[in-house]
Each structure stands twice: as C-alpha cells, then as structure tokens.
C-alpha cells in the first residue's frame, strides 16, 4: 500500500496533513499494540529514559533543536503538564512506551537481517531459514501487513536474489551442499516465493531504484524508521500551532469555521489524530460542520476522507466493534464521497495521489480533461466498513432482533460496494487516473463474498434493490454508465470470471471457492465437483491462510450436501468425511469453538484470533443437518459393508467411516435404548434396524428426522432416501443370510423389500458381477443359487493377503520410479500401473473422490492444529514437510 510514503513522512511534516488515511491504520495499530503490550502505567522515570533515546535518534529533525538534556527536560515537563491539564496524563505516557516497543521491534528486525546477511556470506541456509521465520513474525507484529519496513523489503529482495544465484550455482556445481543445508535452501525457496508475492510492489520499487531506495536507510539506518512514528505529535507541539489545537478540543465551539479556513481546521484535526487525549466526537462534530461549509469538490473530498477515518478511529481493539449509528454515518459519508467523485470526474482518490503541499494557497482547480489525484484509499474504507459490520454481527447475539436489524444494513453495505466497484472500473478505464492496483479486484471479491452463500431469491432482491436505489439516488452519468443490471443467476459467475482473468493472488483462489460453493448451493453437483477437482486446490490449500482454509472446508461440505441432495451417496460421504470425520467440525467451519482438547492449551491470544475468524451466524451451515447427512450416508455405505465382511477379522478392518463405527458401537452398548430423541439417535436406531433387515423401520426412523425440513424440497429427498434404504436393506439381507441358504427366490425378495423384481435382479446381478457374493441366477426358477465351498481357510486368506501386499509393493516401487523420472518414459511401467489402477475391485464407485480425498484426509489433523496454534500454519506445514 502506501508504505513508502509513510516512511518518507518523517522528513516533511507539512505533508502529514493530507496523509490522513495512512495514519488511520498506523495509529490504530499503535493503540492496539499499546493495549496488548501494556495496560498498566509505566513509571515516569522509565518514560524519561525512553524519551532520551528517541530524541537522540531524531536529532537531525530541524524542528527539535534539543541540544542539551536539561532543555529537553523542561520542554518535556511543559508538555506533560499540558497533557495533564487536558486529560489523563498517563495516556501520553503510554504512547511513549509504545514507541519504545516499536523501536525495539525494529531493532530486532535489523538484527535479524544482519544475521541473515552474515549467514549468506558463509552460505548457511539453515540459519537463514530460521532467521527468515523470525523476521517474518516480527514484521507482522510491527506492520500488520499494511506497513512494510524498508529494511525488510530490502532484505527479502536481496535474499531472493542471493537464493536464485545460489540455486543456479548449485545446478552447475557438483554436489557440495550438505543435506541440512540443501533442505533448508529448498524450504526457504518455497516460503520466500510465497512471502515475496505479498510484497511484490515494494520489491519492484526497491529493484527499480536500488540506490535511492536504500539511500535513506543507509545514511541514517534506524532513526528513519523510528522517527516516523512519533512524527505526528512532535510536529504538533513544535509547530506553535497548539493554540488552534486547544481551541478546537476544549472549546467545542469552533470560533471561525469558515469556508476559507476549512483546510486549516482539517490540518489541526488530522495532526491531532492518534493522540489519546483528543476528543474524537468533538472532532467529528467539527468536521460535520466543516462538511456543510465545504463548497468545492476538493474541500468536500478532503473533509470526507478525514471524517470517515476519524469515525473508524472511534472503535479500536480487536473485540469491540463500531457503534451502529457511527457505522451508518460512515456508510452515508462514504456514499457521499463516492457521489462527489461521480459528479466530478476530474477528481479521483488514489493511494499514490499527489500531495497538495500548502493548504494556505488556493486549492488546485483542474482544467477540463485534467485529473487531480487526491491521496486516499476508497478500497480500505470499504474494507473497513465491511469488516466492522462483520465484527458487530459476530458480537451480537444472533437470536435477537438487534441482529436482524443489523443484518439489514448489509444491503446498504452491498450498495456501497457495488458503487465503489463502478468507481474503480471507471478509474481502470481511464489511463490518466494512474494505477489503482488491486483495488478493483478486492472490491469485486467483497461483493462475491456477500453473495455466494445466498439463495437465488435473496441475491435477486439484493442486486435489484441496490440497482434501483443507486439509479434513483444519483443521476450521475459516471454511475449510470458503469452500472448494469445483472441476471441474478449469473452474477457470481460473472464476478468470479473477472477475478480469474485479472487476479493471480489468493483472491483468485477465494473466488474459485466461492464460485464452487455457489454452484453446489444451486444443485450443480457435477459442475462444482469438476471445478473443485480441476482447480487442484486440495494439493495446496494447507498452504493458504486460515480464512481461506475455512472457506475451502465450507465449500467441500457444501459440495457434499449437494451430492447428498442429488442422491449420490458415496460422493456425499467422501466429501463430508474429511470435515465431519475429524470431530472438530465447529472449528473447521469457524462456526463456534469446539470442545477443548485435553492436551492443547491455548493462549488468550490464540483464542482471540479464533474468535475473530468466526463467521457471523447468518452464514453458518447447519451443523445438525450436516451431521444427519453424513451419518445417513455412512449408514447406507457402512451397514452393507459390515454385513459383507461378516465375522472375518481381516475384512472388518476396511472401515469407511471411523466416526460412524465408533458411534455405532457406543450406541450398541446401551442396554436399554429409549425412543430416539435427537438426530443421532434416529440414525443409529435406523442403522440397527437396517442391519437386522427391517428396512421399513429403518426408513421410518430416517424419515422422522426433523432436520430434513430445512432443505428446500425435502419430500423428494425423503423418497430418495427410502429407495436407497430399500436397496441397501436388500444387499444387507443377502450378505447376512447368504451362508444359510442354498437358494433364494427373487419373487420373495421383491415382496420382502417392496421392490420391482427387475430391480432386485439388477441389484443381485451387480453383486454377482462384482464378486461380492458367490452365486448365480437361475432364470427358470427365478432364484439366486449360492455356491458352496467358497469359504477359504485361514492359511489361504493369509496367502491371498500376502500376494496382494507383494503386488502392492511392486506398484508402489513403480510409482516411486515414475515420480522420479517425471514423465514415466518406460512404456511397460506405465501400462502395468494403469492396469492395476483400473483393476476390477469391488468397491469401485468410491475411486473418483477417494483418490483426491487421500491427500486431504491426512491433512485433517494438521489443519486443526494450524487453526489453533500457529499464526503461520503455511510456513509451519511447509517446514514440517521438507
């Protein structure tokens, strides 16, 4: 983002007035830090010493002519007294401490970088890898992703260059690196690539102008970094502007609020930002008045930008959320801002806008066709607005009317998102507006994320509503031409395909997941499954950030539900297995915190993070429904399989769903089973009935599950389930009682299971053809004749198992070889491996998904862990792998 400017900011103070937006984020973080770091008051003395340090560092700042300590002391006292007069003096103290913490972090970063550089010299990748991890952690602490310290950028860019060099050397040179080193090199290669992608812009900046980029950090190293933070308050008290400052804050009645003095007031307010003892509500009131006075677009834009940021400043901290009225006001003002921009196409707000240095002069007036850029970021306003709504929804009890009321604001938010999308589209088209970066993509992604989980009717209302409102509210040409009404059925698809084309970051992955989710929601099982498989997300999703992993889990589950609704039992089971089999459904879907594991202790920090990730209630996928679907699928697959396995211990090992088996065993242990109460009881009693051959009872029990009513059309679903139960009941019956019969009449079977004779014959034929039972049909008598003497002795079973293992071993060897040689050039090998792959095994229907689920299942645990402990699950996993 606007990183670089932030650091330049330390050099020219006058500029700070217009860079309000940047400050908003930084100051916020500062405050967050302050809270996290230290709630208790620091003693005055430590404060003093800290202060000394700072002043030393900032010596060269011309504004602070502090040459001897005594003078500093007095100045300091004056200042503190001032502060005390105004408000709690401690707050100011806090700020100092914070600064110090920040300094420390920067020092740590420097140290890290130095270590890396040293390690580079001796080519010790192990150390580099360790330090790199540490460095990353530090940087996130400092910057929260938005601000990237320059030395860091330099370090990672240099590191990448060095790595590439080493890699190319390594290729040519004969083996000389030891194993640990090579391993570390490999792991860092992957991580660095991923990491650097985030900072592409900064690195490009650095590369394009190595000398200048480095110049400042080279000359004054740490001071630049440190100075930049305290810049705001220091310029203030040195500026002799404190008179105006106190007037506004204390008096409340702004004396001379005139159109001419707007910028002056604005400057004062902006400079006061971030100071704890400023009265923000007062500032807001002032600015609201200023807004009324503002006449030119430039004035309006400037006031609105400052006003919106200040409103966002009102709430801070991770768990608290913005007050509803403030949110609404911010939303309205953001809309007003967009409207101003629409009406005046010659003004644009971009992140790298021109600075209007001197507010005393007359504000610029762009001629026709010219474009004047104001610095700011609409996309972060929108992002923040959205995040605040989510936060408040997370915190409000979902069963109250308040929640519903709040949810109603989503429509307004959606409208704003659409509007800003139009704005960005306009900017993207006009070349003069400059680079808008990924703003458009981010906005579109926000829009998709508001739509993908909603049923068609809701999308239609939202879309139509926003369209109508926007067209009626504003008659601006810019808005109208950019806005087109979309068919609700295609809107998600259209938005996503835009992202596929124009984005290569994580947004693309997320868009894909949302798209798949949406398709699954609308019953396009095959399409969504194919997309899921073709995207190859399973292979690398565990490298993604946690929210994306959650989205992936949600998508997977939704695809599973879709398969279930369409009667594709085994597909549904394998989709749901991965998430529901883990026993930590709630965490994986971010729908609440699961029961605490005995072994894992989570710090409050982690718990807070987890809480932050929770989805608002209206986005939840009903867990009970999920469980019902999963268990029913498992029952339909597991009961016949168990019957087929009979009592032979080897076959028993082939478990389809461990969870189901465990629960079934638990259920069977009950001595007196009462009437079913919850969904689970229903399913397990049904399972028992099915195993006993009583399909009618089983079917009744499954049908009695109330949760099915949540599905859009539950009647066909129930019919489908009944049909499946009949079939599986028949199979179970045959498996169970085959050993006791010589022959079974098809007619009788068809009566017993209330199925057509033809259907019975087809089911039995399938079983025979797949070698599940040793039998043949007798067409004349219409019976199944069972063959005798097919039971195998223990020795024979073992021999079979041994031969199977041997061929498995060969296959494995071949696969290893194939992977090594990549292309698999040996024809014979390829041939034989495909032969075994397509070999006629009994349980064929599962192959499609099982192949892909294999990788995922192993991951299940890993994800759970990642979700809880590690701030960087990706990095951790990667290192664990290599």
């Amino acid at each position: 983002m606007a990183t670089s400017r932030f650091f330049h900011g330390g050099l020219s103070d006058s500029e700070s007035s217009s860079s309000s937006e940047d400050y908003s984020t930084e100051e916020e973080e500062l405050e967050e830090d302050a809270q996290a770091v230290d709630e208790s008051d620091e003693s005055e003395s430590s404060e003093e010493s800290d202060d000394d340090n700072d002043d030393d560092d900032t010596d060269d700042d011309s504004k602070l002519e502090a040459n001897n300590a005594g003078e500093r002391q007095s100045r300091r006292n004056i200042f503190t007294r001032d502060a005390a007069d105004e408000d709690d003096s401690d707050e100011d103290g806090l700020r100092r401490v914070v600064k110090n913490k920040k300094d420390k972090r920067f020092e740590e970063i420097e140290a890290c970088i130095r270590l890396i550089e040293n390690a580079q010299k001796i080519n010790d990748w192990f150390v580099i890898s360790q330090e790199f991890d540490k460095l990353n952690k530090l940087v996130t602490k400092v910057g929260h992703g938005d601000v990237v310290p320059k030395p860091y950028v330099k370090a990672i860019a240099d590191l990448e260059d060095f790595m590439n060099e080493t890699l190319s050397k390594e290729k040519t040179a004969s083996k000389k690196m030891n194993a640990t080193n090579a391993k570390a090199l490999n792991s860092i290669k992957q991580r660095l690539k991923r990491n650097n992608r985030q900072y592409e812009q900064e690195i490009a900046q650095y590369r394009s102008d190595k000398e200048n980029y480095l110049l400042e950090p080279d000359v004054e190293e740490a001071p630049v970094v440190q100075k930049s933070i305290p810049d705001g308050p220091e310029t203030l008290d040195a500026d002799d502007d404190s008179g105006a400052y106190s007037v506004v804050t204390r008096g409340g009645k702004a004396v001379q609020l005139t159109t001419e003095s707007i910028f002056k007031h604005l400057k004062v307010i902006v400079e006061a930002r971030g100071k704890k003892n400023t009265d923000r509500t007062e500032q807001i009131r002032t600015m609201e008045k200023l807004l009324e006075l503002a006449q030119t677009p430039y004035q309006k834009i400037r006031v609105l930008i400052a006003l919106i940021s200040t409103r966002y400043d009102l709430s801070f901290g991770v768990l608290s959320y913005m007050a509803t009225d403030q949110w609404k006001a911010a939303e309205k003002e953001l809309n007003a801002l967009l409207r101003v921009l629409e009406d005046n196409p010659s003004w644009v707000i971009v992140e790298n806008g021109d600075e209007w240095e001197d507010d005393e002069k007359t504000p610029p007036t762009p001629g026709p066709g010219e474009v004047f850029k104001v610095s700011g970021s609409i996309v972060s306003f929108v992002d923040r607005l959205d995040d605040e709504l989510t936060k408040s929804l997370q915190n409000i009890d979902p069963h109250t009317t308040e929640y519903i009321d709040r949810l109603g604001d989503e429509a307004a938010l959606y409208r704003t998102i659409v509007r800003s999308q139009v704005y960005f589209e306009r900017l993207a088209k006009a070349e003069k507006a400059g680079n808008i970066g990924d703003s458009l993509n981010r906005t579109i992604m926000r829009r998709v994320e508001h739509l993908y989980y909603k049923p068609l009717a809701v999308i239609e209302t939202m879309e139509g509503g926003s369209y109508n409102l926007l067209t009626s509210e504003s008659s601006s040409e810019a808005l109208r031409s950019g806005l087109q009404q979309q068919v609700p059925a295609n809107i998600v698809q259209n938005l996503c395909s835009y992202l596929y084309k124009n984005d290569s970051t994580i947004l693309r992955t997320r868009a894909m997941l949302c798209h798949i989710y949406h398709l699954a929601l609308r019953e396009n099982f095959y399409q969504s499954r194919d997309m899921l498989l073709m995207s190859h997300l399973q292979e690398n999703i565990h490298n993604a950030d946690i929210t994306t992993q959650i989205l992936y889990n949600r998508t997977l589950v939704q695809v599973g539900l879709c398969a279930f609704r369409n009667g594709l039992i085994s597909d549904a089971q394998s989709c749901l297995q991965e998430i529901l089999g883990s026993g930590r459904v709630k965490e994986h879907l971010a729908q609440g915190v699961g029961p605490q594991s005995r072994y894992s202790t989570i710090s409050p920090e982690q718990e807070r993070l987890e809480k932050q990730r929770q989805l608002p209630f209206h986005m939840h996928i009903n867990l009970e429904l999920l469980e019902a679907a999963y268990l029913t699928c498992s029952m339909l697959l597991e009961i016949p399989a168990m019957a087929a396995a009979g009592s032979s211990p080897d076959m028993r090992k082939k478990v389809i769903s461990k969870t189901f088996r465990r629960m079934l065993e638990f259920h069977e242990r009950n001595v007196f089973p009462g009437p079913p109460e919850n969904t689970r009881d229903h399913v397990f009693q049904a399972a028992n009935a099915l195993a006993a051959g009583d399909w009618r009872k089983s079917s009744d029990l499954i049908q009695a599950i109330k949760i099915w009513d949540l599905l859009p059309n539950s009647d066909p679903l129930k019919l489908m389930l009944a049909g499946k139960i009949q079939e599986e009941g028949l199979r179970t019956y045959i498996f169970t009682y085959a050993p006791f019969y010589d022959a079974l009449s098809l007619t009788r079977l068809s009566e017993m299971f209330d199925l057509l004779e033809r259907k019975v014959a087809a089911v039995v034929s399938k079983m025979i053809a797949h070698d599940e039972i040793a039998a043949a049909l007798d067409q004349i008598n219409k019976t199944i004749t069972f063959r005798k003497g097919v039971e195998v002795s223990r020795l024979q079973t073992l021999a079979l198992a041994l031969s199977e293992k041997a061929s498995g071993l060969i296959e494995l060897n071949e696969r290893v070889y194939e992977q090594k040689s990549q292309s698999g050039t040996v024809g014979g090998l390829q041939e034989s491996s495909t032969r075994t792959g397509g070999g006629g095994r009994g349980g064929k229907p599962r192959t499609e998904f099982a192949g892909n689920a294999g990788g995922g299942r192993g991951r299940g645990g890993g994800r759970g862990r990642g979700g809880r402990n590690a701030p960087f699950p990706g990095g951790e996993r990667a290192s664990a792998r290599t």
Binding site: L777, I780, T785, S803, Y817
Partner: protein, 455 residues
C-alpha cells in the same frame, strides 16, 4: 493454417446445429455439428456429402451449406457447379465467383512462378544426391550453390497451401513434404505436417496419414506450449482427425486406440470432447470380436474395455448416446432389458454416422457377444428363448448362436434341449489360482523396473 479454418468452419457448423433439432434418434444423436468445428473445411466436405446421401436433412439446405463451406476455398470450378445445382442449370454464375476464379488462377500462377526454381531443384537428381540428413546443412548447400533463399522456401509452403485449397491434394502433399525437408522453422513445419495429414486423409493414403498422426502427436507432447489450453485444443483436433483412419484402415486401429487411451488423450476426450466416447466405444467393442492377436492382444483389449467402462461412467452426466448408454446399462446397472433397447437405438445411430456406418454390423455382432458374456457370467440356468430375445434373434438362431458361443469362447456350459435351457457351470476360482494370478506379473515387472533404474 488449421486453426483459422477450424474457426471458420465453426460458423458453418453453427448453421447445421440450428437445424439439427429433431425427434428422430439418428438426428438427435447426430454428432456432425459437434465434430465439425474440429475438422478442416475439406474434411467437412465429405461429412456433408455423406449427409446428403443419408437424406436426414433437406437436400437444398445441405447444398447451400456445402456451398457456404467451400466458398473461402479456391475450388472455384466445383463451386460453380454447386451454384448451378442450387439455383438451377440455367442460373447465371455470379460475377464474384468468376472474378474469384480469375484471381485464384492468377495467384496460383504466381505461386508456381515463385517456386519454379526450387521445385526444379528438388527434381534434379544431382541436387538430391547431395542431401544429407542434416537440414541446416542441406539448406546451406542450396543457398550456396543454387541461390535458394528463405523466402523461396516459405513460398513453397504457400504453394502447398494453394494446391490444397484448389483441391489437388496429392501434389499438395508432395510439395509439403519437400517443404518439410528444407524448412527449419518449427511452427511452419508443424503447419505443413497438419496440411499433409489432411492431404493424406483426403487421398485415402492411410499409411501416410498414420505417419503424420504420429509426428503431430510427438510434436504436441514434446513442444512447450504457452498455455495448456492450446495444447488441449491441438490434441482435440488430432483426435478428430484421427477418426478418419481409425474407422477406415484396419491396421491403424490398434495404434490409434492406444493413443486415445493414453492418459493425456483420454483426459482430453473427457474435458473437451466427450462425444468421442461414442467412437471409442464402437471401436473397442468391434475390435473385441476380431480377437485374433493372441492372449496379449486380448489382455490389452480387456484393459481398454475396463477403461472405457470407467470413462463412460464418469462422463455419463455430461454425454450420453445409445452407445454409451448401452455400455452403462450392461456393465454398470446390469439391466439387460435396457441394454437390449439401447442396442436397437444404437443400430440406427450407427447407420447414420459417417464414421461408423461401415462397422455397424460388426458392432451389433460384438455387442451381442458382450450381452451374452455378461448374461452367462451372472446366470446359472438360462432360458434359450429368453436369451434369444435379448439378442434380437429367433429361437433357432439363438440356439445356434449359443452353440457357437460355447465353442468359441470356451464357456463352460451345456444345453438342456428338453427344457430349452442352457446350464452354466461356474467353478469357483480356486484360491491357489488367485494367488498365482496375482503374483504372475511380479517378476517381470520387477525386472522391467530394475532395468529402468539401472539405466
């Protein structure tokens, strides 16, 4: 070359698609519109000619379509003939057509002039004898001694293209051949190869076509494509073009089937052209009958069939026609009545398909084999009458059929004449046999692996 033409053909195909909606089975499952975008204009011409013979669609429309199709080509004489067919014998041939003919002739003459030196050189035995296997050297040699320039060689390609466009395929093939000998430009050589394949197909020279198919296949597999999509597209074309030799040339069948079943191509079929499954199914089923190649070939066929069933099952939701449905009914649902019904429908479809017309009878025959095989596997006692009915045969024919079946496939069965039944004997597979079966290939495979690793 082919890409442009395929695109233009697309437009022509769209016309055909529009009229292709009809209740009739043959029409419903007519694949011509789907195939056309992937074929060359000249190849489509044959499909359209076939459709005119079939009389599924109004003849006039087809004529018009043929005319539209060939308009961009330089086969002007034929075009005039077509014009007359459409608009009556007496109709005035439009001026543009005449102009076009003139222009085409001019161009043709120009191309001939441009290439006269090089073609002359290539016919000169003295020059030929100096050629080596190294292309660059040859080119240098020609440049040094005979003043051949790169432009002249490129002109050769255009000349070949022109000849092709005029419909003189055999000369075009020769010209493209000589171009390929000389040119070092990979892309152009590739173009020439596609062109030559078209020529070979159109001149019914299947051996030549097979060679070209192999060349293109290697090229697609080895060349680094910018986007996977274009690779996929090229594969799709190749698959469609290979249909010509597949059903017209016995010897090519195994090679092409093997190519189709290689992982890359089966994926291509699944993603971009599932309708090829019909041809794949037909080819696999018919080749089952010609079981002459000994046990090795039988094993390959068995494998291919299993693969086919797998793919058909996977793609069932995306593409189905009576032929794939037949396979699904027989091997996935074991619904013999359905299979029988589908077989009847399949017959109609086969007989109206350009590629499959010739193998329709063979397909029906093999399909019967399949049905009875599956039937016998599952049943112990079969009513001959019922089975004959399943196979669309009379009872006597059915009996004969079963006797033949028992003799040919060594099914362990006896006919009970009095009751009119067949009694199958399914000896349970011995465990020892299973173990032997499982471990049989192990040694060989390990050896192969060993050899591969030591290499």
């Amino acid at each position: 070359m082919s890409s442009e033409e395929a695109q233009v053909a697309d437009a022509a195909a769209a016309d055909v698609t529009a009229e292709g909606i009809s209740i009739e089975t043959a029409r419903k499952f007519d694949l011509t519109p789907k195939i056309m975008p992937y074929l060359d204009r000249h190849l489509i011409f044959h499909l359209l000619a076939f459709m005119r013979d079939q009389q599924l669609y109004p003849a006039e429309e087809l004529l018009q379509n043929t005319y539209d199709l060939l308009e961009p080509t330089n086969m002007t004489d034929y075009l005039m003939e077509l014009w007359k067919q459409i608009h009556g014998e007496t109709a005035e041939v439009p001026r543009e057509l005449l102009l076009k003919r003139e222009k085409a002739t001019q161009e043709w003459n120009k191309l001939q002039d441009e290439t006269v030196t090089i073609t002359g050189l290539l016919e000169n035995p003295d020059v030929i004898s100096n050629f080596r296997s190294d292309k660059v050297q040859n080119l240098q040699f020609l440049k040094d001694t005979h003043g051949v320039t790169d432009d002249m060689i490129d002109a050769l390609l255009r000349y070949g293209q022109g000849a092709y466009s005029r419909g003189s395929y055999a000369p075009a093939s020769d010209i493209l051949y000589s171009f390929r000998i000389l040119s070092t430009d990979g892309d152009k050589v590739n173009q020439a190869t596609w062109g030559k394949l078209a020529c070979e197909i159109l001149t019914v020279n299947w051996e030549g076509a097979m060679e070209e198919i192999q060349k293109i296949k290697e090229n697609i597999d080895t060349k680094a494509f910018v986007s996977p999509t274009s690779q996929l597209q090229q594969r799709t074309w190749l698959i469609h073009w290979a249909l010509f030799p597949l059903f017209n040339h016995e010897a090519a069948r195994d090679t092409i089937l093997e190519m189709f079943f290689s992982p890359n191509f089966i994926n291509t079929i699944q993603t971009s052209c599932p309708w090829i499954l019909r041809y794949l199914a037909a080819a696999v089923i018919t080749s089952k009958n010609r079981n002459a190649g000994g046990s090795r070939a039988a094993a390959v066929q068995q494998k291919q069939f299993k693969e086919l069933v797998r793919v058909v099952k996977q793609e069932l939701y995306e593409y189905s026609d009576p032929i794939t449905e037949f396979i699904a009914a027989l091997h996935l649902d074991f619904d013999f009545e359905e299979a029988q019904k589908k077989l009847g429908e399949a017959d109609a479809v086969l007989r109206s398909d350009f590629f499959l017309l010739g193998s329709a009878d063979g397909f029906i025959e093999s399909a019967r084999h399949l049905i009875s095989e599956a039937y016998c596997r599952i049943h112990q006692r079969i009513d001959i009458k019922d089975l004959s009915q399943r196979l669309n045969l009379s009872q006597d024919e059915g009996e004969k059929w079963i006797v033949n079946l028992i003799r040919d496939t060594r099914v362990d069965a006896k006919i009970d004449y009095k009751n009119g039944t067949v009694i199958m004997n399914h000896p349970p597979q011995s465990v020892y046999q299973q173990v032997i079966e499982k471990t049989k290939g192990g040694f060989f495979r390990t050896q192969v692996l060993h050899a591969a690793v030591t290499r």
